[in-house]
Symmetry: C2
Subunit: 327 residues, 2 copies
Amino acid sequence: MSPQSRPPQDAPTEDTVAALGEFGLIRAVTENRVQPEATLLGPGDDAAVVAAPDGRVVASTDVLVQGVHFRLDWSSPEQVGRKAIAVNLADIAAMGASPTSVLVGLACPGETPSATLTELADGMWAEATRAGIGVVGGDVVHADQLVVSVAALGDLGGRPPVTRSGARPGDILAVCGRLGWAAAGLAVLGRGFRSPVSVVNAQRAPEPPYAAGPAAAVAGATSMIDVSDGLLADLGHIASASGVGLDIHTERLRVDQKLVEVGAALGADPRHWVLTGGEDHALAATFPPFADLPQGWHRIGSVLMPDTAVTIDGRPAENGAGWEHWR
Amino acid sequence: MSPQSRPPQDAPTEDTVAALGEFGLIRAVTENRVQPEATLLGPGDDAAVVAAPDGRVVASTDVLVQGVHFRLDWSSPEQVGRKAIAVNLADIAAMGASPTSVLVGLACPGETPSATLTELADGMWAEATRAGIGVVGGDVVHADQLVVSVAALGDLGGRPPVTRSGARPGDILAVCGRLGWAAAGLAVLGRGFRSPVSVVNAQRAPEPPYAAGPAAAVAGATSMIDVSDGLLADLGHIASASGVGLDIHTERLRVDQKLVEVGAALGADPRHWVLTGGEDHALAATFPPFADLPQGWHRIGSVLMPDTAVTIDGRPAENGAGWEHWR
């Protein structure tokens, strides 16, 4: 699409997006990439065509802004690319669907080094490949700030979607994936440290357990969400959508040894990271009382009678408000 | 998703996005909106679910940036919202598909008036409703600049997608929709005028002929594109993708009377707008030699032997480079 006014025309220096140009950039991020079978028509036309064998398509979008969702002094462009894909695919998995593809909208200043964007694309493709999906299309435009907008698609495989609203009293509350690691990494980075690298990398690029979403759906999950804003906050969404109470049993809540160590070093309570830290994109779900939990899932609590609150060992959870933009 | 750092905490003044908050904003733009039948699960969960009866889904994304793709002193937020949806749906139509839904990613400063975003949403919903589709999901985040990222989905209705690469020598070259109006409107606005309102409004919010895309596919269109960068530039994409030449017959090219008048007033050649103006999102397509063109389509030229060039009355077209970001 043509802009209404030309962006400021700095003399394009070598190795910047401005020098590469829009079409050069598109070539750089799409050429020689391997598309999976589900990509029936990839980048290069007005739109892509992706297989949707179920006859329904699951769709979600998340936008990442430099300085808000990532910092290029904390994360490499490759890690930002992986994160941008991961946070979107986690939303697809949380519906019980298997991701099939992503579209990427990229806005950035003309003086952005072209290497930044090719590394960002490398990270996107790395995570897409890990998930078995393709980057099937996109748009690159001029803006004052680096903004990465991703839309993800997925397939339900004939199953009903697992929403936030199906939890029933008596159900089991369970999680799959890391909790608190990204928050610990953020605390480390915030103090100016760069290690331990395991928690710092968890912050830079999460590794959501994509396959655990469809597996939970097959096992009969009654509700599911991806933990993006913190366990308490996201369970709050299930509680209010389902009209139930959710009680976390702290003796079942795993606080990984690495978090205990980092907490001790920083004088912080690692349980706080586990309960309120977002950005690991673990999955939380409820299952019928006698369900066999799929591999990787473990029980952390119970679904109680309707009162739409999240409790910890039966007591009201504090600090569960989670993150809200602009507040 | 939780940001890594809180955005600058200006005291939120009343009637700003900051005062409304993320969830208040989401409510304001999603509540009491009517979803079409194809929206099986709308906003409010981790992802939406949309009907994809064809078993394939057509998907595309376009990003609009304030100051680059729109100016709020030239366009109302409602017009920007309509435009953001229209440019995306035009890409779906250009594949011969019927749009089914859009996802919207919205990034803006906290001091943005909340009315700006609700009017933007009104415009999006107005255009979505005109096209018979739903806004099924989205994301709202903090950024320094207003960025509207839309991803659109569509259904092929059992037909093969109409790509840019299927034009064959001997085919008819045809268009449907306005050409040059948005460019004339931009010229008017650029001189500080606000009328004639018809061309100015064409610039502010295009009205692509969505139904003409699937109709062209049914009529056997061999290639198609939406005219977003200008007729010459976009025909150039068909020419190179199909490996053919495309010749425009100027005696067939309609220059609407309104453009003649505006051209006379501004001392500009209206044919230049028709040939190089983008943003009207007309559709251009090629059809087999004896095809009956669907309603609204008219022939403007011919597909010639392979030489991957666009010509005008057999002579090389000048000024056909079109728009390229950062160049």
